[in-house]
Amino acid sequence: MTVDLFFQYLFAGVTYGSIYAIVAIGFNIIYNSTGIINFAQGEFVMLGGMISISLLQFMPLPLAIIVAVLATMLVGALVEILFIRWLERPSVMQMIIITIGVSILLREVALHIWGESIRSLPYFYGNEITTFSLGSVHISPQVLWVIAACGFMVCGLSLFFKFTPTGREMRACSVNRTAAILCGINTRNMVTFSFMLSAGIGAMAGCVMSPITYTQYDCGTGLAIKGFTVAILGGLGNSMAAVAAGLLLGIIEAFSVSVVPLAFQDAIAITILLIILFIKPHGLFGSSEAARLRDF
């Protein structure tokens, strides 16, 4: 493998890796506030892409993306209010089945609205063949958009959780819900808010990746599995580790193409997931001592 090829693969890996990282962060936000793995996370990504593509006919691109993100946040809030908010002490099995049901419903709705056709947003800058040359490596400007958007979201989120009152309340909620209630935090609203936040982040990811990966009504499932792999790899609930794990998985996948056929690419991510689940279910960066206190 030449040096050029190495960097080309590396950039492809980082691009996909940052998308996986965003999906994983979406998982983590909801997991932290509720203890639920939201199996419909991938559908938020799909919805973001689809809505922005449809809105593009009526408004300029930046506005379409903003409205799409807001609309998806609304969907996220609706999902929480309709299906999750009023359940009294739901079991894990119940939550798994409900969120899977929601993901299928969202997918079917998308199928009936947008059909089976594959769509995409236009490139934010230039077109398919515009490239930057970094030395001898060619990079599409969209790749930079993806990486920038991911970086922006990660920084924005960590600032949000550290410095804003709402962010702090959400963290309090995830650490100890009873104590949070005693401090006068409306935990139910925090849960709704975490669904909105994670839907919005997913939708944003769906918009920036759409020009590269295209959007179809069923593209969410694959992303959800990858995102979950990344969330587990980094340790469930740990968003910073999810970024590192996302990049790692993206790069492994990109390089795996040079060894095994493309058709098996997805199988590789899942094999990694299974191996991690078997030997280190608390993640690569999680501490095994804290893990001993939890159920896997």
Binding site: V92, I97, I98, G101, I104, I225, A267, I270
Partner: protein, 364 residues
Amino acid sequence: MKVSKTNKILCLCALVILTQVTTTLTGTQYYLTQLTMAAYYGLVVIGLGVLMGYAGQISIGHAGFFAIGGYISAAMTTHNLVQLQDTPIISFCSQMGLLMERQDIYGDQLLTFAPWAACVTALLLAALIAFFLGIPVLKLKGHYLAMATLGFGTIIYRLVLATPLFGEADGISEVPAFTLLPAIGSLPPIMVSGDFGLRVINYYLAWGVLIIGMILLLNLIDSRVGRALRSLHSSEEAAEASGVHTSGCKVYVFVISAVYAALAGVLLTHYNAGIGPSEASVMKSVRYVALVAVGGMTNLWGTLIVGISLTFLSLRGVFGSYDDAVFAAILIGVMLFSPAGILSLRGCLLPSKQEIAPAKEENL
């Protein structure tokens, strides 16, 4: 009023015969085709029902086991071995009677494994995979278990889609009939095939397999293993403290339910004379979980009834293009309003039932 197990089985048998007679009398025998297929899917669903309801372990990868059964037997009974005829292994298999010779529609010679050899191989393979997958996977709980089994199902789907031997996106067609008993005198042969003349026999065959499977599972539930399972469902620590080999029990049931799914896969593949990758898809696995959940996790009869009737309606195309959406809506509705299954709704009328129902899904 408590109906005994034997009476329930007899009722089911009577219903099966009644249905067949009714369809013959009214000239609506075409229903039998879907009823046969529904019975095979029912086999997957009751196997999964024991795993989910009694052992308390979710599996979103059962379509994977179904596909292992279907694809292995389809590939073995259609892959032509004529060119390898003289290699020692193949001639050894031939001497053992494992091979079947026939002609394809163009008159070319076709040498493949016999369906029963393929069936045994498929079931053994499914059991082995379930065993070696179950040991690490069943140590996990909740979300982790769900994702791990989902991951397994997805890997099988990807493998099937990417392997030329399994026909990639086209699947495998022209799978021969599975002859269980050759024609004796004037009696017709008993074989699993989609031939119209054999529709009634196949109907009884499928339901026979389903009823036998049901009896075996009911016995399992009432056995020592069944009691161990229920104890580990309500509290794994307590079960372990009372000397139940919890991990062994879970793997045991996982293997059994995998074999049920694989057997259904084998038989349905011979009945349909082919199998496609959609049988291995995640949506199928989710559908099996949905049927179990709707029927009631700890209610094998409910699972059977709901599994058969919903699958039958879906196969008849009653839900049209909203098929998946209907399943999702039912799934959500049941989980929200009646997590112990749709048949437990009558528990609202009978207070004794109501007390039992919520206690059952505390765990996992």
